[in-house]
Amino acid sequence: MKSQFSFLRFFKSQPQVIPGFGLSLGFTLFYLALIVLIPLAGIFIKSSSLSWEEIWMTVTHPRVLHSYKISFGLSLLASLINGFFGFVIAWVLVRYSFPGKRILDALIDLPFALPTAVAGITLCSLYAPSGWIGRYLELLGLKVSYTPLGILLALIFIGTPFVVRTVQPVLEDLDQEVEEAAISLGADRLQTFFRVLMPPLIPPLLTGIALAFARAVGEYGSVIFIAGNMPMKSEITPLMIVIQLEQYEYAKATAIAGVMLVVSFLILLCINLLQSWSSRYQRN
């Protein structure tokens, strides 16, 4: 109660030097509530029109359960793969110079900028049995398009920038004097890397992996073409929502969406914690 009281008092009596507090915060809250918060709250209200049993049946239907395995499992795998390659790419872009580096650096953000549908059809065509890459993988007996492997590739594609762009600025910011100090104290290159360089890079690395994971779990456009969408084989959870919607089973769609929302909130919470952990290494 007390904190609520002081909260209210704050907005009432605090004089502000810079004008526009009421207007800007008021508009921010109004817009956010209207566009994001109230509609999202609708998910939980709508699912309450189902009984607990119905909800449970919907969200644990074998097809749905399998889609969790695909969505969460492959997202985790993709974000870990991105963690590894993203770290290497960030390292190379910060520490080495080679021809074409600037262009590559600029291209890192392509998966952000490229519409997901475009990514979807492109990857699908590339890895289809007749595609540029798919035909060679075919010879090796690997089928990519229309299999979970294809989903994994799409998720790696869209997750590429996250780790690079979280690790890169921290790596750039690291004082090379610290490394020189470590070497002058007798550490070799590997010791320097693991004991001096790595610790401040772990929080941004984890943050990047978590961001990539969050994006991958909800991804729809780039996956849906390459996935093949075969029940119990290559269906992702967002697709389960779409399928329920197409059958006008709004409540059921909402129940599955609720599960995804809870997971999203949890990831968001993790990311926030990671970021505040990470900020202790940064200046000011």
């Binding site: 704050f10 030097v17 810079i18 526009g20 800007s24 915060l25 921010t28 956010l32 566009i35 509609p39 999202l40 609708g42 998910i43 390659f85 290497v88 790419i89 190379v92 520490r95 080495y96 600037r102 600029a106 291209l107 890192i108 392509l110 952000f112 900028a113 490229l114 519409p115 997901t116 549908a117 475009v118 059809i121 492109t122 065509s125 590339l126 890459i133 594609f157 590429t160 920038p161 762009r165 600025p169 750039e172 090379q176 490394e179 020189e180 070497i183 290159r189 969050a214 909800g218 456009g221 073409f225 967002p238 929502i241 919607l245 709004y250 769609a253 909402t254 969406a257 968001l268 926030n272």
Partner: protein
């Protein structure tokens, strides 16, 4: 989405000899990077354009000028024209309130602004169906008045707004936080009003970050698929955006036409990246100065 601020520090020279890895390590790492980026970024990029022109210029031109394509382009522009300005105003208001004032719950607000990033775009579409759809809260009253939101252009606009809410705010908040508020306070002691401070002092300081946010927001708005796909009725020539039109073409095996449309969006993406790189290099010194 690495913001401009985090990318400002600039590249340092490659350090002293003592900090060098053995040559083979360096070559291996560069090799891994280049091959990964080649396979995952450059090859798909090349694929889009080569497929788009695989049947010649005239087929390409016909694909992007047939009436369904033109109507998709029109709707995409329409939705973007509404979503970007609204989110621009939102971004400015949010960044102003968060960076110029202290209030309880600020961190929660910042997290909530990010919410549309964390939520699947499919859910972003679903929520508006729950509200405005035929079984939704306002479904009946809307139908009585002959207003259709879901499976029509307004739904497409709403979905586009939802997924692009955070873009500009996220660029501006860290930037304005780093810039501090001394200049605004100085302007106020010199007698400037709130709007004068905003237009004459703050806006010129944040113009690059703002432009960057607008470009990102624009790119996403034009390319959004998941949310729009759920909300659009997929009515060809009426409620299709460019990405939805691509989907239909692709699924109907009009591969060349699909890639022709895709090449438009890919071109837009490349322009976005180009402008972004330009802004970064141009703004870096200026903003470093501002922050230090």
């Amino acid at each position: 989405m690495a913001g401009i601020v985090s990318r400002l520090k600039g590249h340092r020279a490659s350090g002293s000899m003592a900090l060098k890895e053995p040559k083979w390590v360096k070559r291996l790492l560069i090799g891994v990077t280049v091959s990964f980026l080649f396979i995952f970024l450059i090859l798909p990029l090349a694929m889009v354009f080569i497929s788009a022109f695989s049947e010649g210029i005239s087929v390409y031109y016909a694909s992007i000028t047939e009436s369904a394509a033109l109507s998709a382009i029109r709707l995409t522009f329409f939705a973007t024209m509404i979503a970007v300005p609204l989110n621009l105003i939102f971004g400015l208001a949010a960044a102003w309130s968060i960076t110029k004032f202290e209030f309880p719950g600020k961190q929660i607000l910042i997290t909530l602004i990010d919410l549309p990033f964390a939520v699947s775009p499919v859910i972003g579409g679903l929520i508006y169906i729950l509200i405005f759809g035929s079984q939704g809260w306002f479904g009946n009253s809307l139908r009585d008045h002959g207003i259709q939101i879901v499976f029509a252009a307004p739904g497409v606009v709403l979905g586009t707004i939802f997924v692009t809410v955070p873009f500009i705010a996220r660029e501006l908040i860290p930037l304005m936080q780093a810039q501090g508020k001394d200049q605004e306070l100085a302007a106020i002691t010199l007698g400037a009003s709130g709007w004068q401070v905003f237009w004459r002092v703050t806006l010129p300081k944040i113009k690059w970050g703002l432009l960057y946010g607008v470009i990102l927001c624009n790119g996403r708005a034009m390319g959004e698929f998941g949310a729009v796909s759920v909300l659009s009725g997929h009515i060809r020539g009426q409620t299709n955006t460019i990405p939805l039109h691509i989907e239909i073409l692709y699924n109907e095996y009009h591969t060349t036409a699909a890639f022709a449309m895709a090449s438009l969006l890919t071109f837009l993406a490349l322009v976005t990246l180009g402008i972004k790189t330009y802004i970064e290099s141009k703004a870096a010194d200026e903003m470093n100065e501002e922050i230090s």
